[in-house]
């Protein structure tokens, strides 16, 4: 084998090992019996919801940080939020209004506030209320 092809194989083997280690990382994190939480549990994916509200949720960028109905970023699931919070509290949290704003990093609060006056803001709120 020439030196050049040796370097190629070495790089390939190294990259493969890195990918395998990344898979190992994901596997270790998802070992049973740790119960899978939030969106990963995803049993509610089949529940029929108002699609206008869901679309508003994605359009406003909520799904970048949150999941609902098994879709979106599973790190911060919102399933059940409609049962836990009343409409006003939900509104304040969703759009970083009033005291709720202090809970978020400034950049996040700003993004949330920007969505408050969207035409479909009410549809978004209605959707969140349905997440019970």
């Amino acid at each position: 084998m020439t030196r050049q092809s040796r370097a190629r194989w070495l790089a390939f083997a190294t990259a493969l090992l890195v990918v395998l280690l990344a898979a190992l990382f994901a596997w270790v994190r998802n070992l049973p019996p740790e119960p899978r939480t939030g969106a990963a549990a995803a049993p509610k994916a089949s529940v029929s919801r108002d699609e206008t509200g869901r679309a508003a949720f994605v359009r406003a960028g909520c799904s970048g940080c949150h999941s609902a109905d098994g879709r979106g970023n599973p790190a911060l699931p919102l399933d059940g939020v409609g049962a836990r919070l009343d409409r006003e509290t939900l509104r304040n949290a969703a759009f970083a209004l009033g005291d709720a704003a202090k809970r978020f990093p400034p950049a996040v609060a700003e993004r949330k506030r920007a969505s408050a006056n969207d035409a479909d803001a009410e549809a978004l709120l209605a959707y969140l209320q349905q997440l019970k």
Binding site: V18, N30, P74
Partner: protein, 446 residues
């Protein structure tokens, strides 16, 4: 130096050690995120995230690979490390693309709008970083085909890579949900800062060191075959300590900060470090300007580098050298050094060229024969009708005719165009010379 067998083993062990260091550098920051973190969020999600972290770490190490750390490159040879850098970049890009593709396929809602006016800054940063990385890799692979000048490419390469890496760190900072504890943020902050510091070291501190240690061009001498020899002397008077066959990064008519340095083998004797010579063939944009350099001009060098040296195999019973064209440069250094040291071991030089008139150093090689136990075999591709030496390439037959019977105890040094190196490596193997005794330097690795 040490005895032969342990030395080979030690090199292999060192190579393995550095590979382990590589894997640790890429994956430890990832696995450090595990303790105390929230439960898993599903295999595909966590795998996609892990690919993102690992890909970024791989790209960080890319900076270290070309930072010319002597200890880390020595067991492999710096040319191999540069090739490793090149191939690994393609795989690292694939890992990062995998991170994106998996999210696009399995969790499309997370990506949201690609419109930079409505998407969060860190998501746009991630997208732009991915595009920039693809550009960096694409341009590097196509550089020769699109005829991009080396100096310009190097500048663009460093600039784009640094920008992409910075954007990727921003993306990680904004989107990195695993960074849920202060110590994890701190760890990745330090990790990112380390790579930024490395870039600073390579692009600022090292050139600053070179600037403080200028050399002077004391002679510009034409050789046969469009080759120009530059003699350089350190202004400080401190001789350069190097092993014969090693090379230097040379900067001429530009600041060391301008990234206009080029690698050249040192051709002079390692026993004469107070005046080094590099012999350069006028082939490219930079090399064609060497003839215009005037004695008295300032030069900067970053040296020595490389493991292509007889001093890496001091135990050999003799040495065989196979040089093609300007590949004679490092071989001249080794021969001149052996002559200065009064070494009487048997030496064979196979020297391939096109025509006799353009055989660089041929008179000096004849003279070296009187000071060394040296047998020279010239092989010409276009010999005159009355040529009695070897014709064509340096083939297995040619090698067999001239190598002594105890050739398996020789160490062989190959420097020339890649096809020559490749075929001679094979031929030497067929002649029973152990692979560990065959040393080669890839000719055009930048």
């Amino acid at each position: 130096m040490t005895s032969p067998a342990p030395r080979t083993h030690r090199t292999a062990l060192e190579a393995l050690l550095w590979l382990a260091v590589y894997l640790l550098a890429v994956t430890v920051p990832l696995f450090a995120l595990l303790p105390g973190s929230a439960p898993g969020l599903g295999f595909t999600w966590d795998f996609a995230m892990a690919l993102g972290y690992a890909g970024l770490a791989m790209l960080g190490v890319q900076f270290a690979l070309t930072a010319r750390f002597r200890r880390a490159t020595a067991p492999f040879g710096i040319d191999i490390v540069y090739y490793f850098h090149r191939y690994l970049a393609v795989f690292a890009l694939a890992v990062i693309a995998g991170h994106y593709a998996m999210l696009r396929a399995m969790h499309p809602d997370v990506l949201g709008s690609a419109d930079p006016s409505s998407a969060p800054g860190h998501m746009t940063a991630g997208r732009v970083a991915l595009v920039l990385f693809a550009l960096v890799v694409g341009i590097a692979l196509l550089r020769k085909r699109i005829d991009l000048e080396y100096d310009r490419w190097r500048f663009v390469h460093a600039l784009l890579a640094t920008a992409a890496f910075g954007l990727a760190l921003w993306h990680l900072h904004g989107a990195g949900r695993f960074l849920d504890a202060a110590w994890k943020q701190w760890l990745w902050g330090v990790y990112g800062a380390f790579w930024v510091a490395l870039i600073f070291y390579v692009r600022v501190l090292r050139p600053a060191h070179a600037t403080a240690h200028p050399w002077t061009v004391t002679e510009v001498r034409p050789e046969r075959g469009q080759v120009w020899t530059l003699a350089l002397e350190p202004r400080s008077g401190t001789p350069l300590r190097f092993a014969p066959g090693q090379f230097a990064w040379l900067t001429l008519r530009a600041s060391p900060f301008a990234m206009r340095e080029h690698p050249f083998s040192i051709a002079s004797s390692a026993e004469r470090g107070q005046r080094i010579e590099v012999s350069i063939k006028a082939l490219g944009d930079f090399t064609s300007t060497i003839r215009d350099i005037k004695p008295g001009e300032t030069a900067w060098i970053d040296a020595p580098y490389g493991t292509f040296s007889i001093d890496d195999a001091p135990e050999a019973a003799g040495y065989a050298f196979v040089a093609g064209g300007i590949g004679i440069g490092p071989v001249m250094s080794m021969l001149r050094t052996l002559a200065d040291r009064g070494d009487r071991r048997p030496l064979v030089l196979f020297y391939g060229n096109r025509v006799w008139d353009r055989v660089a150093f041929r008179e000096e090689l004849d003279e070296l024969r009187t000071r060394l136990n040296l047998h020279i075999v010239h092989a010409l591709l276009e010999p005159a009708a009355d040529w009695t030496g070897e014709r064509g390439f340096v083939t297995e037959d040619v090698l067999m005719r001239h190598l002594p019977i105890e050739r398996h105890r020789f160490h062989c040094f190959l420097c020339g165009p890649t096809p020559m190196t490749r075929s001679v490596e094979r031929a030497l193997g067929a002649l029973g010379i152990p692979a560990a005794h065959v040393h080669s330097e890839i000719f055009d690795w930048v």
